[in-house]
């Protein structure tokens, strides 16, 4: 069995093996192997290519941009997605604008250990995919499975554009697969994770597993829920979403991130503008509460959507 975290490590190992342009840069990622051990043993296997950085997210990103312009393929580990806001300027104003301004591509992968786990609190739990997706010039990936964590990270490193790779910390150890995949869907394609005819849930990252559990519960009551794993937030596979809504007539968009202007809002805006006539009921969405992410497990468990709140929302949607 291989975990989601191990898949991320193996993808980095394979990229280092296959491409001499690849190097890893981040805090504590060298001999220590990273705060989550996502780079464990890689510094020993690839001397000089897995580099400890000072605590300087702005300069980490700036140097990655310079190295990418000179033909390297940097993979940057932000210790927590939350800390990437310190490097925000370099990501959104420098990396994201480089190709459009100069015609030079800027192939960087930024790994963001994202999302909430019990006890992590306001500054180690954030989901920033919508923030980065707002800016032109970035690709935003949100793998929800072990297989995608592996194949999408490899694809991210191979792409010529800057990629924000949102890996979910809650899935690091929980999620296991039999083996690593040989083939994969390309970036930009969503996956139907469960087929159904009564309603569509569009979700991504750790919320996929909450949605699958909710669908399982509703199945015992005779409801068939279709679940779409977006896989990539930008580009967003609107076609797969609309085709599903055409089959079910009902949509619930679920995200762990904050509600205002995020991925769920974007999905519903697209369905409302491009698929209004497909809807049998008003579109619904479910997000975390509009507060910082709380520390205590009792509060945290209520702050984010869960299988139970998703199931309740679906019951409401099905009654409409």
């Amino acid at each position: 069995m291989i975990t989601y975290l191990e898949a991320i490590r193996e993808a980095q190992r394979k990229a280092l093996e296959n491409d001499p342009r690849v190097y890893l840069y981040g805090q504590d990622i060298g001999l220590f192997g990273g705060a989550f051990k996502a780079t464990k043993s890689l510094a020993q296997s690839f001397p000089g290519r897995v580099i400890d950085s000072p605590i300087c997210e702005d300069a980490m990103m700036g140097s990655a941009i310079g190295a990418a312009l000179q033909g390297m393929r940097p993979v940057i580990e932000m210790q927590f997605a939350d800390f990437s806001t310190v490097g925000f300027n370099q990501i959104v104003n420098q990396a994201a604008t480089m190709f459009w301004r100069t015609g030079e591509s800027c192939p960087i992968t930024v790994r963001l250990p994202s999302g909430g786990t019990p006890g992590s609190g306001p500054f180690h739990s954030q989901n920033l995919e919508a923030l980065y997706a707002h800016y032109p010039g970035l690709i935003i990936l949100t793998p929800a499975t072990v297989e995608d964590a592996y194949s999408m990270l490899l694809e991210a490193i191979a792409l010529d554009d800057p990629v924000i790779f949102c890996e979910h910390k809650y899935l690091y150890y929980h999620l296991k697969a039999e083996s690593l995949p040989e083939t994969a869907l390309p970036v930009g394609k969503a996956r139907i994770a469960r087929t159904g005819r009564d309603a569509t849930v569009v979700t991504y990252s750790a919320m996929l597993h909450e949605a699958l559990a909710a669908a399982e519960e509703l199945a015992t009551q005779g409801w068939e829920i279709e679940i779409i794993d977006l896989r990539s937030i930008k580009p967003l596979d609107t076609d797969t979403v609309l085709a599903s809504v055409a089959r079910t007539g009902r949509i619930l968009a679920v995200g762990e991130a904050w509600p205002w202007g995020g991925v769920t809002a974007e999905v519903l805006a697209r369905v409302a503008t491009d698929g209004f006539n497909l809807l049998d009921a008003p579109p619904m969405r479910l997000n975390s509460k509009d507060t910082p992410v709380p520390f205590h497990p009792n509060l945290w468990g209520t702050h984010r959507p869960t299988a139970s709140t998703i199931a309740n929302a679906l019951r409401d949607l099905l009654r409409l």
Partner: protein, 318 residues
Amino acid sequence: MLLARVAEEKIASLFRGGRITGGVFLGKGQEAISVATGIALKEGDIFAPLIRDQAGRLAFGESLLDFTLTYLGARSGPMRGRDGNVHRGRPRDGLLPMISHLGAMVSVVNGMLLAHRFQGKTGTVGAASLGDGATSTGAFHESLNQAAVEKLPLVLVVTNNQYAYSTPNDRQFACADLVDKAIGYGVNGHSVDGTDLAACLQVIGDAVRTAREGNGPQLVVASNLRLAGHGEHDDSHYISSHFKKLPLGRDCIEVAQSHLLRNGWADAPSLEVWARECAVQVDEAVAFALREPAPDPALEEWCALSHRHLAEGNPGKP
């Protein structure tokens, strides 16, 4: 440096005549330190100029046409009308296009130098220009520290022209001299009179050589006075007359010219010939740029990704 002065004065006059869209930012008074940086760098080196580096750009090898085509927004310029004025560059030639966020280019230079190290390219140097205001930013701190930790051949040229836009030094920093920051980062510090071309050539030359020989980052602090507004929209009324009377308020071009005359390296008629030759070059470059077509929104690709198939377009449009 004379060509830079003449070129910028021409663009400033076009600005006053309403021919330039956007800002115009002059390096008047800073040509000496800037040109010294450009001269000290070689092919294969990296240069991240800032807004007052027209002289350094020309010395580094940027064509005068890149300057006029970008200021005039021509489609054929390096930025194709997508970005303008001082925000131009050719990363492939080692010339970085600055973003507006101060201090942000330094770590990009670091990364290019790191790449050279990975690729086994030795003996290259990267120079970045900053003003006194940029030394207050987090990006300055992060990037100089990063360069020091990695012992990169970075030459950080800080030109203290006494004001960041309208903010004087005493509202910008509290240390006695910006060069004192060098010791805190564990890098060499160099001070120079930014109005004296000969001194700038000497000090920048030494700093670049020291970095090239593998002795880590070098911080150079040049002192002078900005002899123009922050941009041509700014009358710079806030610049104290006190500074204008000090040696640092001298015009570096006048200083350099009297140096040439005093040493008998040039005479007054040849200085006039140089100025006329510069004016001809500039007029030709401006005339060429004025004839070039402007960007056409219908021909613009409107795609921010190099992988076009992953671009989103404009969802929701009928």
